[in-house]
Subunit: 503 residues, 2 copies
């Protein structure tokens, strides 16, 4: 690329930003996996510095001017360069349409609220949490208003757009209303149906070392590239690092191996997306993943569509037994059918992160409805617990009452000022189901391949349908190219019926 | 600090640089300990980016102007601020007196030469290495000339000053001439004397896990703070990270535990210096370690003065036995006196990094004489092997002949363009001996304390004599405050006599 054109200068700038982000990603990973406690203050300062520096570079008025100029010569750019320029504009716009005063105020308020949350949640102390959360929500409303004024989107849509570009509240409303009509009664029926199932549970201890060996063997089998990544331990599992060096983490429960194993496979879904991003565009905005919904979709594709399925468990069962068998676990526990029943139990509960595939979307819809009303000023922070309790009763038949710890205080997202993010979890579940159905259509013997541990054709399909495109297409266009239509909740509903209520 | 004064702006700038350096340090550590092979290209680019950015910030003309301006208001600054300003000028001067074209050319030439070195050294291929090294040396000469023109120091002194501020070749000449007069015959006498010593060697395998447990117990005992640091494994042992989070690494040889253990204790000496730097000045130039000679001095203080001494081995012997004993190793091996003899064997050899305390300075003097002549134009690269062989015969009684691999091709320093660095190893050995003698004078029962594993008084002494001063004093002034005089080689010679030729 010619470094003297406006576009060439932008590529150089975003490559610099990519290099700085690399260091930030690795420092984040290290803080979660390796860093001794005494290192956290200096680390926090170093991370704040580089985050501020990146934001400064992206939001600079010179960056905006270069984008304008490059757009005038757009016809001299290749398709990928044009898409890259579009994503550059997006990043510049998102970074520059809020004032730096607001960014600073939000950083302070959310850091105060998050720190208090760690203590107050444990104490079930909503009253002291409420004013801190109110401050964060007020500033988030202000942010949404600023973004709305600049973009013409509604305030909530302008937040949503940060995580799921192009998505709107009204579209989500119509998708979620399909789920709301289907799920509550389906949950009840499934719970009833599963009452008659006999499930043999694993017993005894499953040493961390053995769980890790199994996890790594399965990661390798499904296509994680250990030449370009690692598996480590952290308090909260995540997928971090950079596409050339993806860092997956998990935590181990020595009484229950399923939790960690399915967690690793979930994060490996994220990791394979990162490892599959287009090599020559990785340092540029167009080479990054296409939004949080699709990212979550790739992890749920791996975990829910593939790894919790009976064909996969037929492949994995002997490996699981070889690594983990002990004297306390009955041999029948290691049969694929039993492992399938074990990994598809449905049970309404208070906690989102522990929820199963069927009840999970209801946790998300509840949060979506509340946060949308908060941003649109139809709900105040003080009223959250009451609305939460009511919706939990309506959707899951559970009352949270005054159990705020396991109710509206369970997630860190709002304390962090992260509103507009929750819907991406369920958008992901839905695009995963839709993409998996398309893969099934494209590979007639897919489930037979999976049951013998052959993931080559599936990985190739995912690569050409999703991974290799980075952010070249919009999410709607990507779904259309890969599946023939934009996001359609019917695939997810059909998937649930097939898995949980087979004819 | 007032952010609006020139000095205040400089503190803010160097704090930013410190934060960026934090990320670079951690990314370096990760590359050596954790990173999968496939991550190296992206990592290299990220590190080059941040190194370039730091160099840009330090060398900027605005930085120089701020220094000038702050110096005009110097009388409004505290002593520590004044010392900080002096170190800021030093950093700005060192970064700005070479052209960025030269820096770039050096980076390319040294990277090419280093990469070739890895292969050519293994092949003992001097002929193909010579032109690549010549290119690096030519550019280093150019660098030295630029620095010399700006500083008024001689070309070689201007390189030396980068690693050992204020040191000169003529001073080193006179110090090293004392060592050259003493060491060769002392080596011979010691080898003769040790021929009559009986040493019982450990035998069998010493599993990595057990070696690590012992190393960590000893690190803790001598004062390494694991709340602010870690021990990991890397191909080349080093001490990295940041003062609040020091990363020590080692490698384990399961046939010989002494090598790794003494290596860890050596790096722990570096680490304790870092952990002991003045807390409130750590982000600023004045809060950094006072040169490479003193840094090496702290590691050799730990390893050579303390940990290879008989009193320390009296304390460590039972711990070593508890962790490492096996069926093959005779019980008498674990006696302190035997471990002392084992850890103080003298034997002339080809390889510097394997050399003992007595022969090591001769390896350094040889390199110092060659590199000084190279920079001063009295020696050409093609003539290195012949001079090397001659000096090895003169100083150590060994001929390298055509064994370039174990001769002049053994170190990476020159390939990397690092000239002026080698002398700091032996300056360190000498300041370690001098400082240890001062500590002995200050703590009359020091060796008794060490033999029962009590390092509190010694650590306190080192802290108030060295660590807590950062770069506040010049090295001469620091040595004068701590020991009553500037560097004096007699202490080192006396230490060798006491250890290797007791009356």
């Amino acid at each position: 690329m010619n470094q003297h054109t406006a576009y060439g200068k932008l590529e150089a700038l975003f490559s610099k930003i990519n290099n700085l982000s690399h260091l930030a990603s690795m420092a984040h990973w290290d803080a979660a996996t390796m860093m001794p406690a005494g290192g956290s203050e200096a680390r926090g300062q170093a991370l704040a510095e580089v985050t501020g520096l990146i934001n400064e570079l992206v939001s600079a008025s010179e960056t905006g001017e270069l984008v304008e100029k490059a757009e005038q010569d757009r016809d001299q750019l290749s398709d990928w360069q044009q898409a890259n320029l579009r994503e550059m504009r997006r990043q510049w716009f998102n970074a520059s349409c809020v004032t730096s005063e607001l960014v600073r105020a939000q950083a302070i308020a959310s850091s105060r609220c998050e720190n208090a949350w760690r203590k107050l949640r444990a104490e079930n102390n909503w009253l002291d949490f409420q004013p801190l959360l109110s401050e964060v929500i007020d500033l988030t409303r202000e942010q949404a208003a600023m973004r709305s004024a600049a973009s013409g989107r509604s305030p909530y849509d302008s937040l949503l757009d940060l995580y799921e570009p192009g998505q709107t509240g009204s579209n989500i409303d119509s998708i979620f209303s399909r789920l709301k009509a289907f799920l509550p009664s389906f949950v009840e029926e499934t719970v009833q149906r599963q009452k008659n199932e006999s499930v043999i549970r694993p017993a005894g201890r499953f040493p961390e070392k053995k769980q890790k060996a199994l996890a790594m063997e399965l990661m390798k089998a499904i296509g994680f590239d250990f030449e370009h990544g690692r598996l480590d331990t952290s308090h909260h599992p995540f997928c971090g690092g950079v596409p050339d060096d993806v860092r997956v983490t998990t935590r181990y429960n020595e009484d229950d191996f399923c939790e960690s194993l399915m967690g690793v496979l979930h994060e490996t879904g994220h990791a394979k997306y990162e490892q599959g991003l287009p090599r020559e565009w990785r340092a540029q905005p167009v080479g990054k993943a296409r939004g949080m919904g699709l990212h979550e979709g790739q992890s749920l594709f791996q975990e829910m569509q593939v790894c919790r399925s009976l064909p996969f468990l037929r492949f994995a069962a002997p490996l699981m037994r070889r690594h983990l068998d002990n004297d306390e676990t009955p041999a029948a526990c290691w049969q694929a059918e039993n492992l399938f029943r074990l990994n598809s139990r449905v049970e309404p509960g208070y906690i989102r992160v522990n929820a199963d595939e069927v009840t999970y979307p209801l946790h998300v819809i509840l949060r979506y409805e509340i946060e949308k009303n908060l941003i649109e000023g139809r709900l105040e922070v003080r009223d959250i617990p009451e609305v939460w309790d009511q919706k939990m009763q309506d959707y899951l038949g559970l009352s949270t009452g005054d159990n705020h710890r396991d109710g509206c205080m369970q997630d860190i997202h709002w304390a962090h000022g992260l509103l507009g993010y929750f819907p991406t979890y369920t958008l992901g579940a839905m695009n995963a189901a839709q993409l998996y159905q398309a893969a099934r259509n494209a590979i007639p013997d897919l489930e037979e391949q999976i049951s013998r541990g052959d993931f080559e054709a599936l990985n190739q399909w995912q690569s050409q349908a999703v991974w290799s495109w980075g952010s070249y297409y919009s999410i709607d266009e990507l779904m259309r190219q890969a599946t023939g239509e934009t996001l359609n909740p019917d695939y997810f509903i059909e998937h649930l019926k097939q898995r949980f209520a087979p004819a």
